[in-house]
């Protein structure tokens, strides 16, 4: 496939408007990040955020079934990937049903139910004798149904599923066969595959309260990316999620659980595009050490870094962008030039003059690199798009997107090659704005090794980025990372992304107020995203949804 066309697809969305002329580009490129208030419709600030039915995303589905059936090996389940927006896979509007997916749910439900029934004692809460079979089946529906549907079943649902189970049992499938089929059905039911918030009670200011179990489910998918555990369901049952204090207590318990680390990794995987690495093969002659094992380690380091810094560490955007902490295995230790553990993974501190946070780690550098050299435009656009929430758009349809180093003659640095390529008038207007951000990473090659020379010339990683109120000069990626870590624009952008992830909504005039509240919370929490999440969970809005207009 032509990856360049895809890149163009991804980037094309905004350039057309942002980069029409130089001056217009200057104004619009970062308008959103520089002055978010300008686009806030204050009249909408009192409106509770939309709560559409959200199909479980692929990763939510997989985490959910893993948590429901911890003893089963579910590694062979196939669930298709979801469409993304800004890298996020859980935008409610895009999580529509698709025929292929419906089949995959169907197959997965059958596979899970078949595996689960191998050990009936794990899911059937009784020792069935023939006489008690009916009662035992009903009990299964009630207890396991509550876990699958994330709430007690209604009387009608109990009737439906118990009736189904009994009919199957009577048809000769036996209790276990009937339980298996019932489980299979429940795992395809809308109550399981969709997070549906109906709310309850009177309408006030256009909003209704979520039910206690809906609050629990909101909390678990936000903080764990998965289904509530028994303890959380018990708190809902006991009506212990009603007040801000109660929710805070529970949120802190949940954030201390390893499932919160899994969620934090998942958020950053999507936000910072950890998986792009797999799509960027490297030249074998140039990088003989770039083995499949090294690529796997580079990818895994990202998860370990996030878990270490954002879950076990101080959880701040600053640390994400500047921490020198890392976990390495022997292959990565060599790449980073640190002492290698004898085997497995070990924590290390990287050389502070060579490495800072995520942007100086091999995954970002290699995934925004070509086969031979790093790509300053792609690295620059990543910073602009992912960290500053700016938009660069894409190149014209006939732009030359090949790697300059692949056809270069003579000894020139990667930066010189790109500067020549991008000097063309059709390119220069936009690239002059964001590509300097990418030049900051010229001190690293296409697999993320640090370097001080390029083709025998000293590396030039200096640059300037000036947009709106921002005017940054930097001499390398460490300095740029510092600027980004101090930047209120980055803080606001991160909060926007967290809001979009948490709510499943797009950032637009209707949601900007609430995204702004995330930003305020993040600033108040000193950049600690876990505290920001606690503040969100304890806000009034967290337990409300708009009244349904039928």
């Amino acid at each position: 496939m032509d990856r360049e066309l895809i890149a163009r697809v991804v980037l094309a969305a905004t350039l057309a408007t942002a980069c029409v002329t130089g001056s217009e580009a200057d104004e619009s490129l970062l308008a959103r990040a520089v002055d978010p208030a300008s686009a806030v419709d204050e009249a909408l600030c009192d409106v509770v955020g939309a709560a559409p039915a959200r199909r479980l995303s692929r990763s939510e589905y997989l985490a959910t079934v893993r948590d429901l059936f911890p003893s089963l090996d579910l590694s062979s389940l196939t669930i298709g990937s979801d469409p993304t927006e800004h890298g996020f896979e859980n935008r409610a509007e895009l999580l529509v049903p698709r025929p292929m997916l419906i089949e995959q749910y169907n197959t997965a439900a059958a596979d899970i139910a078949a595996a689960a029934i191998d050990d009936p004692s794990a899911i059937v809460p009784c020792e069935p004798t023939l006489e008690a079979e009916a009662m035992c089946g009903a009990k299964f529906v009630e207890t396991f149904g509550r876990r699958i549907f994330r709430r007690p079943l209604s009387a009608e649902e109990l009737d439906t599923y118990t009736g189904f189970l009994n009919a199957e049992r009577a048809a000769g499938t036996g209790l276990e066969g009937a339980v298996q089929l019932t489980l299979e059905a429940m795992l395809q039911a809308p109550q399981f595959l969709y997070r549906i918030e109906l709310g309850e009670g009177p309408v006030e200011h256009g909003a209704v309260s979520l039910t206690r179990f809906e609050v629990a489910t909101r909390m678990s998918y936000l903080l764990w990316g998965s289904t509530p555990d028994d303890e959380l369901l018990a708190r809902a049952e006991a009506n212990e999620l009603a007040t801000a204090e109660q929710r805070e207590l529970e949120a802190r318990r949940m954030l201390a659980d390893p499932r919160a680390a899994r969620m934090l990794v998942e958020f950053h995987r999507q936000w910072l595009d950890f998986d792009e690495l797999a799509n960027e093969p490297k030249d074998r002659a140039r990088y003989p050490e770039y083995s499949a094992d090294l690529a796997t380690a580079i990818r895994e380091e990202s998860d370990r870094f996030v878990s270490r810094v954002m879950w076990r560490g101080d959880g701040t955007i600053r640390s994400l962008l500047t921490s020198r902490e890392a976990e390495v295995n022997p292959l990565l230790a060599e790449l980073y030039g640190v002492a290698a553990p004898e085997s497995g993974w070990a924590p290390v501190t990287l050389d502070p003059t060579e490495r800072a946070g995520f942007l100086t780690r091999a995954n970002f550098l290699a995934s925004r690199g070509h086969a031979l050299e790093g790509s300053p435009p792609l690295r620059g656009i990543f910073v602009l798009d992912r960290l500053l929430c700016g938009s660069a758009g894409g190149p014209p349809a006939d732009a030359d997107l090949s790697e300059p180093a692949a056809t270069a003659e003579g000894e020139r640095t990667n930066r010189q090659l790109f500067e020549e390529r991008l000097a063309a008038p059709a390119c220069a207007g936009c690239h002059a704005i964001f590509t300097p951000l990418g030049y900051a990473f010229e001190g690293y090659d296409a697999i993320g090794r640090h370097r001080t020379t390029d083709h025998d010339a000293p590396v030039d990683a200096s640059g300037r980025f000036a947009q709106g109120e921002i005017d940054w000069n930097f001499t390398n990626a460490i300095e740029l990372s510092e600027r980004l870590a101090e930047s209120p624009e980055v803080m606001r952008c991160a909060a926007d992304r967290w809001y979009a992830y948490a709510s499943g909504n797009a950032i637009d005039a209707a949601t900007r107020c609430r995204a702004r509240a995330f930003g305020d919370a993040l600033v108040e929490a000193g950049g600690d995203v876990r505290e920001m999440l606690v503040r969100y969970v304890t806000s009034d809005e967290f337990a409300l949804r708009p009244a349904v207009m039928r």
Binding site: M1, D2, R3, E4, L5, I6, R8, V9, A12, A13, A16, P52, A53, R55, T78, G80, P83, L94, V96, P97, R98, P99, M100, L101, I102, E103, N106, A109, A110, E156, T160, F164, E168, L181, E184, A185, Q188, A189, P190, Q191, L193, Y194, I196, L198, N279, R284, A371, P396, A397, D398, L401, S402, E403, A406, T407, V548, M549, R550
Partner: protein, 464 residues
């Protein structure tokens, strides 16, 4: 030549010699239909052929203008080196030169291949130019009772084509009949043919497949009702979303139950993890014709994976994308890219043979199936003009012809200063009309050209 020796040996190993395309017994079922359904197969290939090495000329035909000639010369050399494998089938093919994807250039939100088959794209669709892709529209108009609206098989790892002809009219990505990736051909056969009666199961008592099918139907029926009940309590948007889910479940249930009534044998299943050429061959010559002979689908799309360097005579390990396709203006890449497209021409020839091998009515399945081969681009670079189009069979268009359209229209503004031929949307309109779908335009309808004139993308392709 070593290349072809390897291929022959390889095809033999796959059981894919010319004589082993299919078990004729499979296809008896088709003759029962008085009026066979019309079908479409799209063969989509990466990059593009080498300009100057695929086109054909005849003495006396003027350069630069429109022209047409019959593909009737018995001399294989009359065919270009790229398309020569199609010479034995010259009377069954239509070759078109000179179309452009000018509408894509006019589209600021151009999304590559997605545009090719929708003359639109998802963003545009959301902005008010809704347009499904051509295969979807044809599939919707002709979905078989048992089976799939259409089959879509492509390389999964890059999922290149997955973003392509699969947008529905609301801009949502849909993938009915989307089969797993290239590595999982056996799984694709399982999915398409798995519910057909298994000859290894004894007659009489229901076998595991049969039981599993009944079980699936029972649970699906229950779940469908759950979606219906719950939807009543939701907002209109959510009701619509769950309603669609319910419809898809009911479609699955219909398929699961209807397949019982098919009297159609399963083809032999290949292994997973085969080399890319074998996968494409098996999809084109076994998966698609068998599925269509069983009436399990009437539309099938293959998004072919990029060929390997060794397949096209290039040094192992060379970057086929950058160093071959993008460099195919000059030798040796030009020759490698020509080999690349000749290999695809061989595959298209085998596709023709596979459909011709199946008797249907008074003729063969080829008579009722339009086979359409479209490279992604006009050449190995990113040009979207000088497109090569090869069609076969179908009974819709007169075959045995070579058509060249002149390239004298000013192009939309963001193309370098070239003139281009008629927009490809006209070909798609012609195809829709051939399938009985009453459309006079498809997707984007016009754009402003560099010279200020309005480019018209509507209407069928003249003289086709």
């Amino acid at each position: 030549m070593k290349l072809s020796f390897d291929r022959r040996r390889f095809l033999k190993a796959m059981g894919l010699g010319a004589g082993s395309l299919y078990l004729p017994s499979l296809f008896g079922v088709r003759t029962a239909h008085a009026e066979p359904p019309k079908r479409l197969v799209l063969f989509l290939t990466e990059h593009g052929p080498v300009t100057g090495r695929w086109e054909m000329r005849r003495p006396g035909v003027p350069e630069g203008g429109d022209f047409e000639f019959a593909l009737d010369d018995p001399d294989p050399e009359a065919f270009s080196e790229t398309l020569r494998p199609l010479h034995p089938h010259r009377r069954k093919v239509t070759i078109i030169e000179g179309l452009s994807m000018a509408s894509a250039y006019a589209d600021p939100l151009f999304t590559g291949n997605g545009h090719y088959f929708s003359v639109s794209n998802r963003a545009a669709a959301q902005g008010g130019v809704p347009c499904g892709s051509i295969d979807q529209i044809i599939a919707e108009a002709s979905t078989p009772v048992a089976g799939f609206p259409y089959l879509f098989y492509s390389n999964d790892s890059s999922d290149f084509w997955a973003g392509s002809p699969i947008y529905d009219t609301t801009g949502h990505q849909v993938m009915p009949g989307r089969l797993g990736g290239y590595r999982y051909l056996r799984d694709a056969f399982d999915r398409v043919f798995g519910d057909l009666p298994d000859p290894s199961e004894p007659m009489g008592a229901p076998g595991p497949r049969e039981l599993s099918r009944r079980r699936r139907a029972t649970t699906l029926a229950l779940v469908e009702r759950e979606y219906e009940k719950l939807a009543l309590r939701l907002s209109s948007e959510d009701r619509e979303k769950l309603g669609r889910h319910r419809d898809m479940l009911s479609d699955l249930e219909r398929r699961v139950t209807a397949v019982e009534h098919l009297s159609c044998e399963r083809p032999e299943w290949p292994d997973n993890d085969l080399p890319p050429i074998a996968v494409a061959d098996l999809a084109l010559t076994r998966l698609f014709p068998a599925a269509m002979a069983c009436d399990l689908t009437r539309v099938a799309v293959l998004g072919a994976k990029q060929l390997d360097a060794v397949d096209i005579g290039a040094p192992a390990g060379i970057d086929v994308h950058q160093a071959v396709a993008h460099s195919s203006m000059d030798d040796p890449s030009s020759t490698w890219m020509t080999n690349y497209y000749r290999l695809h021409a061989e595959q298209f020839a085998r596709l023709i043979e596979a459909f011709e091998a199946v008797p249907e009515g008074d003729g063969t399945m080829l008579d009722n199936t339009l086979l359409l081969w479209l490279p992604e681009l006009g050449n190995g670079w990113h040009d979207l003009y000088k497109l090569m189009v090869v069609m076969a069979g179908g009974g819709a268009f007169e075959t045995g012809r070579y058509l060249r359209y002149r390239e004298d229209q000013s192009a939309p503004r963001n193309v370098f200063d070239v003139t281009v031929g008629p927009p490809h949307s006209k070909l798609l309109v012609s195809i829709l009309q051939a399938f009985g779908i009453d459309r006079s335009s498809f997707g984007v309808t016009s754009a402003v050209a560099r010279d200020g004139s309005i480019m018209d993308f509507t209407g069928p392709l003249p003289d086709l």
